[in-house]
Symmetry: C2
Subunit: 239 residues, 2 copies
């Protein structure tokens, strides 16, 4: 971002750049219209400008970077835009921010599943949820609910309850890094879809994940480094 002359992004995210954005030309877009935003950024770059396409989290994780390559691959770009150079800069994705606030739930194998069925058939999502349950992965659910979608998260909870205990810790992280940030830890058996909104990241522990309350009174969730931790024998061994 610091080298760019032009910034393209959702207005709120460009506002968050504050000083980094000063002296640069802003190309503000409303929420949604992701393809328009990315296409505009690529066409500006095709005109020879140094453009930063700004998004939240990690541009490579459920975000804009993949759209850049989708457009390269048959997206009807101008010749100039199809020849631009691209650098992808990683960032902190929502699951990492949620994990850090709650402890270390991603200390061992994990997966991410988007519950949005706008671009992915519900049958494919069901297959992934079942596979993640059978593999006993820690699972971060992106897009857990929307205004019209309320049933997918309940389905996932019910599948997971067939494979891991009802007291498996679940992290509900809402408004991460924004005013009103709220991080809750609930047992899987008590996961209530009405406690989850569009700004909530849901991280479900594996059967190895556990909670610990430290001397300061705070309860944390972590996943030990190895399966053998189930028997409390992991300390003293070497990774």
């Amino acid at each position: 971002v610091s080298h760019a002359t032009d910034l393209v992004g959702y207005s709120l995210y460009l506002d968050l750049l504050e000083d980094l954005a000063s002296g640069k030309t802003r190309h503000d877009f409303p929420l949604g219209r992701e393809e328009d935003r990315v296409r505009h950024a690529m066409e500006l770059a095709g005109q020879g400008l140094d453009v930063a396409l700004v998004c939240s989290g990690d541009a490579g994780i459920y975000a804009m970077a993949t759209l850049v390559f989708e457009l390269f691959n048959g997206g009807g770009l101008s010749d100039a835009a199809s020849r631009i150079d691209v650098t992808v800069a990683p960032g902190i994705s929502a699951l990492q921010a949620a994990a850090a606030r709650a402890g270390a739930p991603l200390g061992h194998d994990f997966c991410t599943i988007s519950l949005s069925d706008l671009l992915t058939p519900w049958e494919s999502i069901q297959t992934r949820v079942k596979a993640a349950a059978e593999g006993d992965f820690v699972i971060a659910f992106y897009n857990p609910v929307s205004k019209r979608r309320r049933t997918q998260l309940a389905y996932a909870r019910d599948v997971l309850l067939q494979h891991r205990p009802a007291d498996t810790p679940v992290i509900l992280a809402t408004n991460l890094g924004r005013p009103g940030e709220l991080v809750r830890i609930v047992p899987l058996g008590d996961l209530n879809v009405d406690d989850v909104d569009m700004l909530t990241v849901v991280v479900v522990g594996s059967s190895d994940s556990r909670t610990v309350t430290t001397g300061s009174g705070k309860t944390w969730v972590y996943t030990p480094r190895g399966y053998s931790a189930k028997e409390g024998t992991q300390l003293g061994q070497t990774v």
Copy 2:
């Protein structure tokens, strides 16, 4: 790190901090001995010092943060150390750095699997590999090989070949961010364990992942945002 008075970590990582480390007390540890390092950091904090426990990547992903909570939970800490405050700071994990260099392979659902059987029984790892194959996840393999372990990655490749095409792109990212950085893209069917060393991150695409060669001549790997992209129909829709 910037507020801490004391730094604890593997010497090489403390060296990498450069100016950030100036004026702070260093507590250098050799490679390995993770538990000693973490325990030392927690005991120093118990003495009232402001301690940063430094690791590479994301402290929460296969790294030191989970060990902190393992020690809180029955690790025989002193009373003072068991009452310390902890803040976990997320970072860029190796899979994100590898993904960014190679394109956007993590654009849709993915998982991480450590192939190290030091703390996890091989049977559990096999179950996770099979589940990830059945769920058609993009998979990042951590600890793919070691000096004594050569067979696990070949096993994973052979399981995956039963569920996704032989031309599925695989990213081999070696020495990320260090001298000699090398990022290779090979088809799953040609994945050769001898091309992978302990400093290589292996990211295997899903059946939806694909490559695109851009006008600059570089070949990238990306995973489209939705399954329907298989038919090339995703553009023009809204996430």
